[in-house]
């Protein structure tokens, strides 16, 4: 476990994380405004990359093209991809989602899934099932050595471009009129409409902006790996959504934080040996036990109104957390329990299950010793993260930023 290995993993984790972030922003903005998982977003991302790559192939770039012309072509490709992909995003909203406003979430989500599958297969029909190859001449190939690890210039470019775009986005949302309209629409669409905000326009704008970010993400991925496949966006979309939920859906900084954590988790998870991961898990277990035995009961007890606060009541709540499996199940099964104890029992059971899982994994990892975490489980990592975060903290790390309307 050399330091340059860890450093290399960190940089590639950050690069992947930044790309996840660009996609996750689209999910999180749409969810914030419409409370809809825009399932087709992953495909929008792929199409963005495909359009950029095929524009460059069509123009025809090769190694002899002078740098200035390359930059020009590059800009043209980005612009074409941005415009077409943003139009696609606008169209998707107009055709598949707008007629369903006011319907239940399931209906809208079904429409989103249908759109996603349709687009994915349209890519196959139009571009064929074989992957599209990015012209290599346009991709900066240089690298720098930092701490003995080779970092590609492109990785630095991706990180910097992503940061700039996120800054731009934050400025749009926080500092412009349309951003204000977006925030108002996400809080209460009807009220916003009454205040004279064109909510339909605002929603369309949200889709256009999300799609534009996804297009740039697709372009960066196509450059970074050199090729894109028709189903690349599906997995990237799912992971980006995981990142959005991890950071707290509807929350723009949250999406970035979640994406970086996920990118790092995937790379470290595969690259580090099981022994190191086991120690990380032990630390996690300590944190989990602290939550279960100290912090959670203390919080629950603080909810007890003063006039009911008796040592016996406090002990009851604490015991539910302490002897969770037995007591919690018994509490949950009995119909007549105090609401606070009932809620505590549910919570305790979840924490307990989580701690047991962490403990089990740590034991397994210790037993496997110095072996590497098999990379065949790489994609499972993000799915497990998604399930875990939804089970134990559905509001995400930085908290949700959406208005639940009843």
């Amino acid at each position: 476990m050399s330091p340059e290995h860890i450093f290399g993993l960190t940089v590639s984790g950050l690069t992947v994380g930044m790309i996840y972030a660009l996609i996750a922003l689209g999910y999180t903005m749409v969810y914030g405004v419409l409370q809809l998982i825009n399932f087709a977003h992953g495909e929008v991302f792929t199409i963005g990359g495909y359009i950029a790559a095929s524009t460059l192939i069509w123009i025809g770039v090769d190694a002899t093209t002078p740098l200035a012309v390359k930059v020009l072509y590059f800009t043209v490709a980005v612009l074409v991809s941005l415009v077409l992909t943003a139009t696609l995003g606008w169209l998707i909203e107009r055709v598949a989602y707008r007629p369903l406003r006011g319907q239940t979430r399931i209906i809208a989500l079904l429409s989103a899934i249908g759109t996603s599958i349709f687009l994915q297969n349209m890519i196959v029909i139009i571009f064929g099932p074989q992957p599209i190859i990015m012209p290599t001449a346009i991709v900066p190939t240089g690298f720098v050595e930092i701490f003995g690890a080779r970092i590609r210039i492109l990785q630095i470019v991706i990180i910097v471009v992503s940061l700039l775009l996120m800054g731009l986005l934050t400025w749009i949302v926080k500092g412009t009129r349309i951003g204000k309209a977006m925030r108002a629409t996400s809080q209460d669409r009807e009220a916003a409409e009454m205040m004279g905000i064109e909510t339909n326009l605002t929603i369309s704008f949200t889709f256009v902006m999300g799609s534009a970010l996804a297009a740039i993400g697709g372009f960066l991925v196509a450059m970074y790996y050199g090729s894109l496949q028709f189903n690349t966006g599906f997995l990237y979309g799912l992971k980006a959504f995981t990142a959005a939920v991890l950071g707290g859906i509807g929350n723009i900084p949250g999406a970035v934080v979640g994406a970086l954590i996920l990118g790092l988790a995937e790379n470290w998870g595969v690259g580090l040996s099981l022994g190191v991961l086991a120690w990380l898990l032990v630390a996690g277990l300590g944190l989990g036990l602290y939550f279960q035995l100290v912090r959670a009961p203390r919080q629950r007890i603080s909810h007890i109104a003063d006039e009911f606060r008796t040592p016996a009541y406090e002990r009851q709540v604490r015991n539910v957390y302490r002897f969770a499996p037995v007591l919690a199940v018994r509490t949950l099964l009995s119909e007549r329990t105090d609401a606070l104890v009932h809620v505590s029992a549910q919570h305790a059971l979840r924490l307990m299950v989580g701690n047991i899982i962490i403990f089990g994994l740590a034991i397994v990892f210790f037993a496997s010793g110095d072996m590497q975490f098999a990379s065949k489980w790489q994609h499972v990592i993000s799915f497990v993260v998604l399930m875990a975060i939804l089970m134990f903290r559905p509001s995400g790390i930085l908290g949700e930023n959406i208005q639940e309307k009843v």
């Binding site: 998982i37 239940t104 399931i106 079904l110 429409s111 599958i117 029909i125 299950v353 489980w377 134990f392």
Partner: protein
């Protein structure tokens, strides 16, 4: 035109329900006999048998998606659990052959257990989060089956699954499997239909319509949803166990995410919350591609000569599959936008989908409540 369709539909409306049921059952029972008497190719018997597996899946998913209104995108995972139970307990893989009934019980039990485990933490979540968690669960299940080589032989799959023996009767021909599945489907549909009209069935519908109102009316949401999820998982497990027997070979590529999507489309197209709808959706979506393919690879060439439109034929042979999934996606969107209640709608869903502004209705002279159908409102 509208008058004619109204007349025809009014005619169909007058036929009592049992007539349809008897007609469908009679047709299903007679179906393998067509093959036996040489009136039909065995191919269609195989297609019919596979369609029955999808009917089981669609009916099971309908319980969750249609009745309770939870979007479940990892349904195929429970199917996989059932199929792998059979494959592991009745094949040369570990050289064991357990009793059919034991395997069915274990398959259903395991699938239900997984349904329960996935339900405990997730049923509290918003509906759309549930969709993503189930999707993640489905993918985790498939990757685990693919990676756990010691148990499942990984991507190589488990070949040579022994045929089941039910009270000494060895089921090994397509016709026998067709009847086995038909009996299963009839039992499951009968049970589900009774459930649908029972107390718990109404609780599910109430939750689908408005969870908060239902909760306040005394329906425990988590418990009722849990029951739906666990039962539908059991049905998928059952379908998977029989499917593995029928197929005699199982590997993880049977359980891709697209399979879940196909089952969801079946329920949506047939009509969410409607059992006849789910059956129709499954049969139509599973057989249509085969019919189209057969038309272009056998029937048309035989009719017009093999050189008929070689381009079209080649395209249908090689391109059709790509269009098939694109069409599935498009159909889901179109159905949801234009006819969310499906082809054979459940009454309550349709009403909910077409809720109209009372002021608009007044203008056209219609009433918000259809008083002539007053008795129907209570029936649900």
């Amino acid at each position: 035109m509208a008058a004619i369709t109204a007349r025809i539909s009014s005619f169909f409306g007058r036929v009592p329900r049992w007539v349809y049921i008897v007609a469908v059952l009679a047709f299903a029972i007679a179906f393998p006999m067509l093959e036996y008497f040489g009136l039909m190719q065995t191919l269609w018997l195989r297609v019919g048998t596979r369609a029955l597996v999808y009917v089981l899946l669609a009916v099971g998913l309908n319980l969750v998606l249609g009745e309770t209104g939870l979007l479940h995108l990892g349904y195929v995972a429970f199917f996989a659990v059932g199929a792998y139970t059979t494959a592991i307990l009745s094949s040369p893989r570990f050289d064991i052959q357990w009793n059919f009934w034991v395997i069915i019980a274990i398959a259903m039990g395991l699938a239900m257990l997984f349904g329960f485990l996935i339900g405990v933490p997730t049923l509290r979540l918003r509906g759309d989060y549930l969709a993503i968690v189930t999707l993640a669960f489905g993918e985790i299940t498939r990757m685990t089956l693919n990676n756990w080589e010691g148990l499942t032989n990984g991507p190589g799959g488990i070949p040579g699954i022994y045929p089941p023996q039910i009270f000494g009767w060895t089921v090994d021909s397509p016709a026998e499997f067709f009847y086995l599945l038909l009996v299963t489907v009839v039992i499951v549909v009968w049970l589900l239909n009774n459930l649908k009209n029972s107390r718990i069935g109404r609780a599910w519908n109430a939750l689908r319509e408005d969870e908060i109102a239902a909760h306040h009316a005394g329906v425990g949401p988590t418990r009722a949803k849990m029951l739906a999820v666990v039962m539908s998982s059991g049905i998928a497990g059952l379908a998977g166990a029989i499917f593995a027997y029928y197929q005699q070979f199982i590997n993880p590529t049977y359980f891709l995410f697209m399979q879940s999507v196909i089952v969801v489309s079946m329920v949506v197209i047939g009509g969410m919350g409607s059992i006849p709808g789910a059956i129709l959706g499954a049969v139509v979506l599973d057989t249509t591609p085969e019919i189209i393919r057969q038309t272009f690879t056998s029937w048309l060439p035989a009719a017009i000569g093999p050189d008929f439109l070689p381009g079209v034929q080649a395209a249908m042979q090689t391109e059709f599959d790509r269009y098939r999934m694109a069409i599935f996606g498009l159909v889901i969107v179109l159905m949801v936008v234009f006819r969310p209640e499906g082809l054979l709608p459940n009454k309550l869903w349709r009403r909910e989908m077409h809720e109209e502004d009372p002021r608009e209705l007044e203008k056209t002279g219609q009433h918000l409540f259809d008083f002539e159908e007053g008795t129907q409102d209570l029936e649900v």
